[in-house]
Symmetry: D2
Subunit: 261 residues, 4 copies
């Protein structure tokens, strides 16, 4: 095995006896007391300090992702905590494991769709109506669901979407991708005859394109935000638990059809 | 199984067709655009909106916990990503699983120690010097390490600690627990003859006591903050990977002593 | 950082271009076709090939741990699968995260208790009755639950226990630890006036002491066995799901008290 | 929410006060002492008791998957254990999280490829040579790697493959899928001019098709088997650790280029 080792390097952070830097900034002197958590997340993930406008919009989109109620993910975390209360971190980890293609994935899907039909270097006079029409037609032909549209509960409007778009607008960050997402919705509702609101993940996907975030980073926002939400659920579970009750009800019901007497 | 079902309830969030509330506030109207991520985390975990002073101190302590360089946890996340790049969430989860008693636990330990020797309802004239002396003597008698003191690299001072204490001070939140932590350090250094700086987890543990946070919540801060840091590591890994190189080096070395030729 | 690197080595397995060895045996020639999965697990975990008697007893104890019905752990795995069906491995991982002190831990606890009160080098004429009496008295004085005793459903006998002890007996492996566990039960029932059957984890804990397995390995048996069980649950979930239904029911109920209309 | 609840049911196991059944068999009376762990896994995952031939072949394929040396997955588990030694289950979970598309996925990929080009109801006189030729041509045209072929170390033969095929043959289970996999290899080597041994995951994928296992179950075998392997690694880590040494070496090296000494 005369393998030549390849270099291993990371540019995120370093420390010496008396200094600690994160992304090129002194943690004690330039970050602590100067950044809020959302801005530091932006720095950690992109390597850049957000402008004030970027800070407002970025904080709004990640905050939207923190808490979605009693989700399958929150339930998995709570049920895990019931068995291993000494390992709070493992309960959060269990909850994160389910943030896959079904729920959080649609955000990433919306961003990827938008980049694909409107590349960042598309000409300034790209015809958004034509693109929207074509996109909807293509998804319908492939019998695929358009990512970011539709919601089982929030109809005809997902209340987060107009607010997120307004915050983007107020901060000069509602450009072509937000516009295009809106036109895709109009086309999709016309073509299907159904209410297909832009849901929060669709709004966030579009705004992420305005930032120029690569598609795969977008799921990362959901994962880090939901970690905060899950800690909240586990703290509530530690005070007012539901895990054991869920277990007993479901076990009783699930096996009643084969269990004697 | 005539078990009487017990009620299942959560007070964190709810939604209807056109409304979404988190901790009693309208997400679109009262949270988005008004909170930064750190303040929302405070709301999610405590149920309260932080004051401006609390916001500054809380953001500083959770930011301190986001990024600690190439930790075992960051390596576990990167190695997981190497095998399952389609499951970013699982890589973050793997990284979180290691945030147990060894590293993050000392923060929780410091808070619990301080609450134990100085309960929140201790009389106003509690003798902090005497408590510090007794605490150090007790730990030494039990041959236990005092949580929150000492650092393998940062000596004689952990550069995060004076900064965190200054931010607490500036915001009126450096009270008896911060004071006591300092006196415990002085006693411990005197008794042991070694440099035992208050490390970042010790500083954070003390400040968490000033907030009145229950001890077990404190590990939750570490877990949620580190989730942000881990997403940053996975994004870097996706662009400039080290996982496969680590694997090959370690595998070569680990089995060289038994592998023929 | 003139740190001297310390050696990194593993003695579990190695491979070259044309050979693969696990625990000193050729995988193709000496293991495949010669071992069953339980025996290979024994080899992997202990470095030794089980005798025929050890094989029968070990297979019985790990099989007992595979499937425990609709547990919190199985539910966490199923709920995770609902969100990330593309990551079967992450659903199993989520399920494993909850195998902590509450359920699986009692097995480890029973083994540790038995080793503590009857060390492996205890004299041949150790008075098991006296030890049992003392052990029960000590636990009662400390108001601690005796690990391995009692079951919410299986009373007055856990049906697995007599069968496991019979298999151990038939294979010459029911020695002092099995005997002692039985006497501790008798003492505990007499002292408390309650039915306290030796449950499966108590039986397994005692048999693990007969093998001489170190206490902390015992939880490992539970984890590896349950991984098999969880794969079975996820396969059933993929064909006949319950995750989404659980989510919807619990979410509805949990927030009914604060949700308008 | 006048939602009509849908039934929740599981057919894997049930228990009453004095009985426990798994897959329709009494755990104490019909399973313990009668099954080995591999056969019980077969029962748990398929609902069927294996024949003697199936038992031999199934045990061989899952055993092959238990231990693959110092893999990224084993390293993730060990690094997790270094931070949370009190949560053995979380370390195994972290290791499992990386069993995604890159390593374990190729097994599932091989099975799916074989089912696709030779459905189980294909006519008895299907021309395997023609199918192999077409399959290789299709993958090459799409510039895709053929799953189950090629190995970085084991060349020109993966030593596990002939042994697995021999065990299948000896037990009457080397039918058309094993045959086809071999012809695909011959075609692929001829077309590419490279050594492309059928690797262990290719051999297992083909044998799984002989069993008729659905494609997605196959990854489940890998996950459950590797859980056993990971417990072995964590036990070794607890006695002869490498996690902290890996961490220190990699951290030193990774940040040397930006760290002021």
């Amino acid at each position: 095995m005369s393998r030549e080792p390849r270099p291993i390097r990371s540019d995120i952070a370093w420390s010496t006896r008396d200094r600690i830097e994160v992304r090129g900034k002194s943690l004690p002197d330039e970050i602590l007391g100067h950044f809020n958590l959302g801005d530091l997340a932006y720095l950690q993930l992109t390597g850049k300090t957000p402008t004030e406008a970027e800070s407002r919009v970025f904080n709004a989109i990640v905050i939207t992702l923190v808490e979605h109620g009693i989700t399958p993910s929150a339930l998995a975390a709570r049920l895990t905590y019931a068995g291993a209360p000494e390992s709070l971190q493992a309960a959060v980890a269990a909850g994160l494991c389910g943030l896959g293609t079904v729920f959080v994935g649609s955000m990433e899907g919306a961003a990827k769709m938008l980049y694909e039909v409107l590349p960042t270097d598309a000409p300034a006079d790209a015809d958004l109506d034509a693109i929207a029409k074509q996109t909807v037609a293509d998804y319908r032909a492939r019998k695929q669901i358009i990512p970011g549209l539709g919601h089982p509960l929030h109809k005809p409007v997902d209340p987060r979407t107009p607010r997120l778009f307004a915050i983007a607008e107020d901060n000069g960050m509602a450009g072509r991708y937000v516009e295009l997402m809106g036109r895709i919705q109009v086309e999709a509702e016309a073509a299907s005859g159904k209410q297909l609101p832009i849901n929060a993940t669709g709004a966030i996907g579009a705004i992420c394109c305005e930032f120029g975030f690569p598609g795969h980073i977008v799921r990362g926002f959901g994962v880090m935000a939901r970690a905060i939400g899950l800690v909240g659920h586990i703290l509530e579970e530690s005070e007012n638990p539901m895990g054991v009750e869920i277990w007993q009800r479901i076990e009783d019901e699930a096996t009643a059809h084969i269990r004697p007497e």
